[in-house]
Structures are given as structure tokens and as C-alpha cells.
Symmetry: C2
């Protein structure tokens, strides 16, 4: 049970020191200063006692209760004490010391040695190279850093010890309370995914925030995160999403950072909310932990000044929220009670002269209106009344309605007291009103995700597995797809111009001719694709042109023949593909196809398996999907056929792990009811052999 890390009955500190400048002193100081209620056992070969706690020379001498050991000794010396912990029957160890994997191969070997020892004695090991844990409710603080946030309900898990220090310092200054904080260090044993579960089980934690550099096992993470997110909000700041950032993560932790798109898809699917900055991480956390979720995205703004109201409107709209259209009753009610020139449209502007009483009446009216899902209360600094009285009023009125209320008592110098009251009443406040938009949007997104189906998966199609595997073995990807009822347009391979013309006559004009070679994937680049051939003469000429073009533009290419293919018309081009991510496994993608796939970058991806509703949502999120709904005279395309292809590709991705990449581009989508055809298919299997064929 990882919870023992946060609630041990006794803690041994191996490497305890009497020297106030040493980390081995800082840990004991923190346990003592922050009122750890359990037993504290400093281990020190010479000292008698440290800060009033009796010292021991050896862990075997330490009496019960003893649930946790903290190692703060040089990396090279850690193995023996860890073994002794195992012998003593300790099941939880924090290795706070650095000098392991982060310093190079030698350190990595030391780290792996520790892991072997931990395995042998069935110990769980947090770290090495970590700050340890904080639980403000027990309370326990195993870190050596000065200060501790006050008790609250935000949990924070971090793959960077520095971020733990920074967040702790920030939390103390900002007066934001935390429940648990954990520094994961090098994660030789306990990782972010397991810790997520431990935070989920903690009743004091109402929202889990995380600073993540890399994920140990993407698949396990999203499965766990989805379960946890059903219980309580999970908000993640993923570092290293940019190209250079990914490199920096790799050089910092050795972790594979993964692409931004894949992480975003993984987070979206598992209900994990994403923060873009550290400040936003805790803005979202306060909204999610302190206020109820809104039923919808209609926000009412209550303000004593026009300008800040407009800023709020801009920010809410940019975040995908809408302004509530107030009911006539609410307007009438407000009209009778607000000063004459007050604005009764949303934002409701009660004007500078109004006090907390007017705020109370108006806020109550807004929250009573069924057209309002959430409210933002803004106060521009004024000298008429005590801002703290407005803080009291907001907290009081919000508490009787089950709708989220956020505040922007603006400024800094004049609102200290008000801020304390707002924190106590669990109303998140922002120095400028724009700050409220991201948390409100996250709350709406979470509500929507919780409401969504838990992802019912479609029945897998039964196929002739033997036949499918045979095709795959020969890299006949198009035939392979045929087994899943993903068909290409009628096509045959010709070895000379006459044969091409004969085939064209059989399958019917117009036809396309294209080079068949395993070596070239972008046929249009070298002129090896001829379209719209209407008759025999055109086919004969095109055949020769292709040979000439290949000779000129790509001499040396092995020409295995020229494909003759019936041309489809009146449809739209879509790309559907499978990729395999090193961290999250199989992905399905869909988007605008054809030659412009890279130019438009109109692609959505999701981690397989996907269900029908998810396939629909993916398609809806692309411009390709917009086009398929019918666009400017283009008839609606056969969306159902595209969805079916996506679901089959999802199935293939799971059933054939040897396929590392498979791409239908274009999937040619005819008008509604007429199907979709895999015009070009490109695949690659584990080991690297790649084939281009229709």
C-alpha cells in the first residue's frame, strides 16, 4: 500500500545529522517542526540525539513502530543500509539522495542495484533523487526544504523535485492549501501511475494535479487515469511537448517525451485535464476542488465596471464558454433593484456606487436563473465599502446554490483580507478576470466527459485470420484490408503498355496508371501517376510517359509494373491510418487526405480501441469531417463508411501488433450510401519492411 508513505507510524532517517546545514538534519527538522505525530528515529553512528530524538547506530536496533525509512546518504553507500531495511522488515523506503541515473551509467547501475534489493525484500521504493512526501493532514513532511503549505485539498505529484520546492513556496505565499505533495524522483520503482491511484484513495484530496515529464507506461497510465478521473479531477501539466522541450526532457530524465498530439489524445480520452502553465495548473485545481461542476457552459458575469466585464467576455468566449441569456424574470427582478443606468444584459453591470448588498441580491438572482450555469463576480477596486464584505457575501450566496461561482476581486494591494475570506469560503479569485476562463472551461469539459458514455466498443469483425495473416506476411496490405471489407477500386497490374490498355478495357474507363515499386511512396513527386485516362490511346501514351518520367526523375528505381485502376469520381479524399506510439501503443488517425495531408495538417488521433461515438467525434473535429457533411454544392459523403473503416482500423491495430504503420490515403469517399474506397494503402511492419500497393 503506497498510502503508508503518507501515514507511517514511525520513520527512520538513515543519514541523520546534527549539522543544521545538512539535508540529514533538514528532514528531521521538518518532521519535528511540522508536527509529525509518529515516532522519529534518527540513525547516526556517533550522535546521541538530534532535536530531542534518540539516535540509533543501526536500523536493526530501531524499535517498533517503524513503517518507513528515508535514506539520505551518498549513492555509493546506499545498498547496504537498504538491505538492512529489508532484513528489518521495512516495506517502504524513500531514497532522497541524488547521484543515481541522473549522473550517468555508473549512477544508473547503483540505482538498479537498489531496485534489485527492494524486489528481493518486497519493499516499495520512492525515488531515488527525490524530495519525498508531504501530507498536511497527518501531518508529515519528509522533505528537507524549508516551509510547508497549509492543509487543503489539492494533491500535487511531481516528476521534478524543483517544482515541488517552487510550488510549496508559491502555495505558502498565495495561501493555497494542499493535501498531499509527492516528489517522484527517478522512479526506479514507484511511478506516476501508481501514485495517481494512491492520491485517488486519499479522502483529503479532492483534485489531483501533476507535473509530468514522461510517462512510464502510456497504456497503464490512461487506463488508471480514466478510472481515477471518474472519481476526482486529474489535471496535468505535461512538460516537454515542444520539439526542444522533448529533447530537454530526454537529456534531463532519459524519458521518451512523446509527441504533443499523442499526449493530448491520451489525456482527452482518459478525462485528464491539461494545464498549459504552472499557474494554470493551480487555477484549474482551485476551481475543480472548491466549486461544484456546472451543468452547462452558460456563464453570467456580475461586475461593478464595464471594462473588466468585457475582458471577461473575451476570455470566456475564447475558452469556448458562452454568455448566459438571462430570463425576462431575472431582468425584471434586477431592473426593480439596480440603479437606473445599470446594465441588465449579461454582463450585469451594477455600477461603481453599488455595495455588497446589491451584489448579494444580483448574484442570488443570477444563480436562481435556469439560464445560468455558472457565475463570475468582478469587483474593480473602489473606496465605498470593505472588499472583505463582498468576499463574505459571495461565499454566503454561492453556498446556497449548486452552481460554481468564481471571483475576480481585482488588484492586489487592497484585497488581502478579502482573499483570506474567499479562500476560506472556497471561492477561487483571480487578480484580473481573464484568469477565470480556463478553470471554468475545464469544469465544463469535465462535466461533459463525466456525462459521456464510458466508451462502448463495437463488436469486432470476424475475419479469416489465416488468410489475413498470409496477406500480411507477403505485405499485401490492400488484400489484407479486403479481409476486413475495406476495399480498393478495381485494379490490376500490367507489365507492358498493351496489357495496361487491355486491363483498362476490362475494368472500364476512365482509369489511372501508376508506378508499382516498393521504393517510392510519393508518386506524384516523380510524375509516376497519370489520372483521368479516357481511352486506349491515352493509356498507351501514359504508360510510356511514366517509364520516361521515372527514368528521368528517379533513375534506378525498380519498376515492378504499372497498376491500372478504375477512377472514381465525385467523392472526397480522406486519410485513415494506424500508428504505433512507443508510450501509448496503437493509434487511429483520420483527417483530410490526398496530396495536401501534410500541408493542411488536418488530422485527429486517438488511442485504439475506439468506439463509434469517439470515431464520430474525431471526424467532427477535422475539416475533412466538415466537408463530408456537404459543403458548397459538394454532396454529403458516406460518413458511415468512413466510421466503419475507422473502427476496422482500430480492430486491426489491436489484433496485429506487428503492423507498425498502416495508412489509407486517400480513402475515397463517395456520396452517402455509396461507400468509401481505399485508393492507396501504405503499410509497414515491425522490422521495417515497407510496401506500397493498392
Amino acid at each position: 500500500m503506497l498510502s503508508t508513505f503518507f501515514n507511517p507510524r514511525g520513520i527512520a532517517i538513515i543519514g541523520a545529522s546534527r549539522d543544521p546545514h545538512k539535508l540529514g538534519y533538514g528532514i528531521i527538522r521538518n518532521l519535528v517542526e511540522h508536527h509529525y505525530p509518529g515516532a522519529i528515529y534518527p540513525l547516526n553512528p556517533v550522535a546521541k540525539e538530534i532535536l530531542g530524538h534518540k539516535c540509533y547506530a543501526n536500523i536493526t536496533q530501531v524499535p517498533d513502530p517503524l513503517d518507513l525509512a528515508i535514506l539520505i546518504i551518498p549513492a555509493k553507500l546506499a545498498a547496504d543500509p537498504l538491505t538492512q531495511c529489508g532484513e528489518r522488515g521495512i516495506k517502504h523506503v524513500i531514497v532522497a539522495s541524488g547521484g543515481f541515473r541522473e549522473t550517468g551509467p555508473q549512477g544508473k547501475a547503483l540505482e538498479e542495484r537498489l531496485y534489485q534489493i527492494a524486489r528481493k525484500y518486497q519493499m516499495r521504493l520512492l525515488g531515488p533523487n527525490c524530495m519525498g512526501v508531504i501530507d498536511t493532514h497527518i501531518p508529515v513532511n519528509t522533505t528537507f526544504m524549508a516551509g510547508m503549505p497549509h492543509a487543503g485539498d489539492i494533491g500535487f505529484l511531481s516528476q521534478s523535485g524543483a517544482m515541488v520546492a517552487a510550488v510549496t513556496d508559491w502555495a505558502r505565499g498565495a495561501g493555497v492549501g494542499f493535501s498531499r505533495i509527492v516528489s517522484l524522483g527517478n522512479q526506479v520503482d514507484v511511478n506516476e501511475t501508481e501514485m495517481l491511484t494512491a492520491f485517488a484513495e486519499d479522502h483529503q484530496t479532492r483534485v489531483i494535479t501533476a507535473y509530468i515529464e514522461g510517462i512510464t507506461d502510456g497504456r497503464a497510465f490512461i487506463d488508471t487515469a480514466e478510472k481515477v478521473a471518474r472519481q476526482k479531477p486529474v489535471v496535468v501539466l505535461k512538460a516537454g511537448l515542444g520539439k526542444s522541450g522533448a529533447k530537454a526532457v530526454a537529456s534531463h530524465t532519459g524519458a521518451l517525451a512523446g509527441s504533443a498530439e499523442v499526449y493530448q489524445a491520451a489525456f482527452r480520452q482518459s478525462g485528464v485535464l491539461r494545464a498549459r502553465t504552472m499557474e494554470e495548473l493551480f487555477d484549474l485545481a482551485r476551481g475543480l476542488a472548491w466549486q461544484p461542476l456546472p451543468e452547462g457552459n452558460r456563464v453570467a458575469i456580475l461586475t461593478n465596471a464595464g471594462g473588466p466585464g468585457i475582458l471577461a467576455v473575451d476570455a470566456l468566449e475564447a475558452a469556448g464558454l458562452t454568455l448566459a441569456t438571462l430570463s425576462d424574470q431575472t431582468r425584471d427582478y434586477l431592473r426593480a433593484r439596480l440603479p437606473g443606468p445599470a446594465s441588465l444584459a449579461n454582463p450585469v453591470d451594477i455600477l461603481a456606487g453599488s455595495g455588497p448588498g446589491t451584489y448579494a441580491i444580483a448574484l442570488d438572482a443570477l444563480l436562481s436563473d435556469p439560464t445560468v450555469d455558472a457565475a463570475l463576480v468582478i469587483q474593480a477596486p473602489q473606496d465605498w465599502f470593505l472588499p472583505a464584505s463582498l468576499a463574505e457575501v459571495i461565499g454566503e450566496v454561492a453556498a446556497v446554490h449548486h452552481k460554481p461561482v468564481l471571483a475576480s476581486l481585482m488588484g492586489l494591494a487592497s484585497i488581502d483580507q478579502a482573499l483570506t475570506i474567499l479562500h476560506r469560503k472556497r471561492i477561487p479569485n483571480f487578480a484580473f478576470p481573464e484568469g477565470a476562463a480556463a478553470p471554468l472551461a475545464a469544469m465544463v469539459a469535465r462535466k461533459k466527459w463525466l456525462r459521456g458514455s464510458a466508451g462502448v466498443l463495437p463488436a469486432t469483425k470476424t475475419v479469416d485470420q489465416q488468410k489475413a495473416r498470409n496477406y500480411l506476411a507477403q505485405n499485401h496490405f490492400a488484400d489484407f484490408l479486403g479481409e476486413f471489407d475495406i476495399q480498393g477500386p478495381p485494379t490490376k497490374l500490367a507489365q507492358n503498355a498493351r496489357e495496361a490498355a487491355q486491363i483498362a478495357g476490362e475494368i472500364g474507363y476512365p482509369v489511372a496508371l501508376k508506378l508499382f515499386s516498393r521504393e517510392r511512396t510519393h508518386k506524384t513527386d516523380i510524375g509516376a501517376l497519370k489520372l483521368n485516362l479516357e481511352n486506349r490511346e491515352a493509356v498507351l501514351a501514359a504508360y510510356k510517359d511514366i517509364l520516361k518520367a521515372v527514368e528521368k526523375n528517379a533513375p534506378g528505381t525498380t519498376i515492378e509494373g504499372i497498376l491500372v485502376q478504375k477512377m472514381l469520381s465525385g467523392g472526397q479524399e480522406v486519410i485513415v491510418g494506424i500508428r504505433r506510439d512507443p508510450q501509448f501503443g496503437p493509434l487511429v488517425l483520420v483527417g483530410s487526405g490526398g496530396v495536401e495531408v501534410e500541408l493542411l495538417r488536418d488530422v485527429e488521433m486517438a488511442i485504439a480501441p475506439i468506439g463509434e461515438s469517439q470515431a464520430q467525434a474525431m471526424l467532427d473535429a477535422t475539416r475533412a469531417g466538415t466537408r463530408l457533411n456537404g459543403w458548397r454544392g459538394t454532396p454529403p459523403g458516406d460518413r458511415a463508411a468512413v466510421i466503419e473503416v475507422m473502427l476496422r482500423m482500430s480492430q486491426i491495430a489491436l489484433q496485429f501488433p506487428e503492423i507498425s504503420e498502416l495508412e489509407i490515403n486517400p480513402l475515397y469517399v463517395l456520396p452517402e450510401g455509396k461507400g468509401a474506397f481505399a485508393v492507396d494503402v501504405r503499410g509497414a511492419k515491425e522490422g521495417g519492411y515497407e510496401s506500397t500497393r493498392v
Copy 2:
């Protein structure tokens, strides 16, 4: 001279009060408390003196020096005292009172009356409905709100009094100094553009920030802003850029908010930097006011922890900055001086144990490296040394190099003293490192803008003005464009199917047929466009099909004929257009054309006139431009021809103000050297008559 508002030798307060709860008291209190060095003349019919200053019953009795009057009396009573101010020879008046335009038509009439009086006596009037001015260096504070920021070099002008109050309160709390602050109120006379010039002339102001809801005269603003921006940075937060926000601005101030794209184009052209939030406004301001501009966009990151370094990398990359690749010399130098496991790649991680001395050595090395244009120094909270000592070191080392240095001494609780030192040393600090990205990007953008040519305009083409005007009078937009050498493909109008076939024979197959009617603009929607007609039979059939389709899909449409047009092939479709913005005047736009123009929304716009380099930059910013450079087998298009069309359209926009809208879509761009043809042209003139024709 607007500068008198900030530096009057004597101020009369009309509506002064002895009652501490009244605004007329607050103003005098602020003048006194904040040490206004000039004469203070309270006007009050009964009081003898207020706060030690002798009261006067009438403005005519007030002795010299008297340069400024502040009116803080009910709107209805303001006209007479203002007239008396005029008689007394006062040239500058602040009308602080509300109750004017913002309350409705009656208030608006009162406001206009004040304006007439001001005109008559050649008085400049700030407000009404405003907070007045602050100049921290004089010092003078004509507002009635409590508190004043300390002296600094950031100027802030605001179209919202509430934002002035919020920013003042925030500045006091955050310890950020300001030079001047002005609340513009209803702007019946003095507006944001004039005030911009006044701030430009103030030597204490090093950066001008503005909260803008609407711009009085877009044209005048960008002309002025460009001049001012050449002298000192201008950063604007434009409120009301979203749809709902624009509505809110309109209902708040009656100002036309204008579209986000046009404002962005206007700001970009005039060198105005845009902030997205209030916090960013002053983040940018601190960077621009306190630090030199970087020569390029290569940033070095110096940190004592990996995680925050990665966050910084992500944020810098997202903002368009790059990580400097350090020279070998720098790396060697650092290797010899930093702890063994320190990271010598950028970010340079000197590790947790390093102190301010190591920071000093490393920062000096980084700033000495010619590969580095700017540096960001990060400190994760630690207990080894006093953060204030690092603040001293950063300020000292930065001062001897002419490169910008920003800091992120992270956290809040532990860095109070450090922050004070950083402010004094003019080093902007951010609680988390992501905050440094936007200011650095703005500094790079400003440097680039200052370097850019001041926009050399191309020679205007000489055309037969009479002929052009005749075409325009008849709404023959295509012929009109022909006068500017913008040609369409060969085209004729047919009145029956046989005539269409005959024309097709003359101009050559393939041809397109399309409905000619003033009533329909989206011909593809109703099936009134037939393409790729290869022979006489196809033309005859298509003619009938169009008539049938129009009857079915748009019965009642007046059919003025069917156009027969030679079809061009092998080219790319671009849109080039003119729009007229109510605030900024003529705009030129360019982007991806064809039926997908609305789907792709790939359009860049600029305010006319534009020069060649700007036309190039606009094209480069679109995907249409990327495509024209050659894409996947598509040969490069005739960019020069597109640029020429853009420049001619810019000329037309200026020379023919009666054209409210003109759009070439598609401009069909053939391969390099082969020209571009206006396939479809749509225009509209002032007054609303609209014509569709080729």
C-alpha cells in the same frame, strides 16, 4: 499641449467637498497626500478651507497660477462652471463626473454641450466620466481613488476607469512602478491617439501600455502609433475582440469594436505589440522598459533544476523563440567551472548545490557568447543561500552586457527581498519560468519591426481614369480590373444554347458554363456551374442543365444569360480582395481561394496601401503561399503575378473609395511566368449595388 494635464502649475477643483466620503474630497486628499507641488484651489460656496487649502466660491476669483480645472459636479450642472473656466482663460479641464453619454441620449446631449463650450474657448477636455491623470514624477494625482503606484517608467492609458483602479492597486501590491496613468473616459475631446503622442513626449515614460476598447479613427491611430512606436514600445490590450466582447464594448461605450483580424493587422503594421491579458500587458511592459532589445531570438537558459528549465524551453519554443546553441568555447569554459554532472547544453543546469557565485560565472559566460541574444535565469527555491544574493548577482552581471536578461526566481513566500532588488536592478521576474516567454518574444518582434523597412510603396500604375470610372459606374468590375492589367480568362455571354456552343468553338475547348445573374453569388450551391465541357454536345447539354437546376433550386432567379468561359488548367486557386473597415479604411486580403475559402479560413489581411515586401510577407503567412512555392508535384505558381495583383488591388482600394468590396476568387495562378487570371470577380460599391460577373 496635452502635457499641461500632467504638469499644471495650479489646479482648481470645482465641486470640492469637506465630506471625506465625497469624490470632491478624495481628489484634494490625493493631491495633498501624494505631494502635488503646485497650487490647489478648492471651489466650494460655503467652506473656508479644505485640508488647509483656501476655498473659492467662483473660478473667476481664483488667482494665478491656474492651468487646470477638475469638474466633479452633477452632469446637469457642468455647463456653467465650464463656461466660467473658459472665461477665466483655463485651457485644460478634466470632467471627472459621470452621468453623460454612458447613461443615454440625455447624457449624450449634455456631453455635446460641454464639447461646444470647450471648442468655443479653445479648451482641451479630458473625459467626461473619467478618473483623470497620475504622474508619479511631478507628482500629481487628480483621481479620487486611494493609493498611487510608486514612480517608474511604464505609462498606462486606459479607456476604462475601473482598469486604472485595478492596475493601480495591482501595481502597489506587485511593486511595479509607473510614470503616467490616464483615464480617458468618454473621450468627447481628447482621445487615445492624441494621448499616445503626449506619452511619447514624456521623458519619464519608457514604454506605453494601453487598455483600448475602441479606436476613434483607425487611420489616424495607426499613423500616430507607427511614429510613436519608432521612439518607444507601445503595448496594447484590445478588449472586445471576440464576438460577444465586441457586443459588450458597443453596449458599454457605443464604440464600434472592429474585427479581431483587422485590429491585429493594424497593430502589426504600425509596430504596436499586442498583449492578450492584463497580466501579460505589464509582463511585456517590464521586459520592454527595463531591458535592452535582443539582436535575435536565440535564448540561453541558466537554471539550478531540470524541470523548470524544460517548462521554459516549451514556453520559449511556443512563442517562436529558439534555444541558443552554445559555442564550444563557452562549453569548455563552463565545463571547467561547473560541477561534474551539470548540463552544459542549453538549458545550462548548474544543479541544486550551486550558489550565486556559480550563477555569476555562468551568466557572464552565456552573455559573452555571440550565439546568445538573451538569457533567462531560473532559480528553484533552495535553502543553501539567500535568494536576494542571486538577485544582486543577476542585476550586476546583466548590467555590463548589452543583452536582455529576465529572471524566474520561482515561488512567492521566500523571494520578497530578492524581488525588491530585482525591481531596483530592472530585471523582470516571473513566479514560474513560462512567464518570460511572451515578453522575450515581444522584445524580439519589436527589434525585428524596428529593423524592417519603413514600408516603401511601389509606384502606382497609370490607368485611363475615365474609362475605369465608366466601367465602375456600370458595375463591370472585370473590365474595370482589366484597366489595371488584371485579366480574366476569355469569356462571352450567351443567350441560348446554340450561341453558347458557337462561343465555345471560338474561344476553344474545354469551357465552363455558368449562370449570369445579379442575384446569386454561390453558383455551385444551386448547380449553376458546369466545368470541363469538352465538346459541342456537352455545352448544349450543360446549358439546359443549368436552366433546369436554377428553376428547381432557385426558382424566380432572373437569368441574364449564361457565361461561356475558357477553362484554364494546371494552376492553383487564390483569393485576392479589398474590404473596407469602418475604422481602418481600405484593406487588402489574400489567401486560399476556390470553394474552400470559408472552410480553410486561410486569409491574411493588411491595411492599404501595401508595399511589395509586405505583400510577400502576407502571402508567405498563408498556406496558399506555401502551395505557390511548389508542393508535391504541383509546379511553383506565378507568385510575381499574384504580388502584382495585390499591389494593384491596394492601389484600387485607395483610388476608388466608392468600392466597398472587391473580390477575385479564384485568381487562377498558372505556373511561374505564365500569369494569374481573375476567373471570378465580385464587387460592391457604396450604396449597396452588387454585381457578379467575370
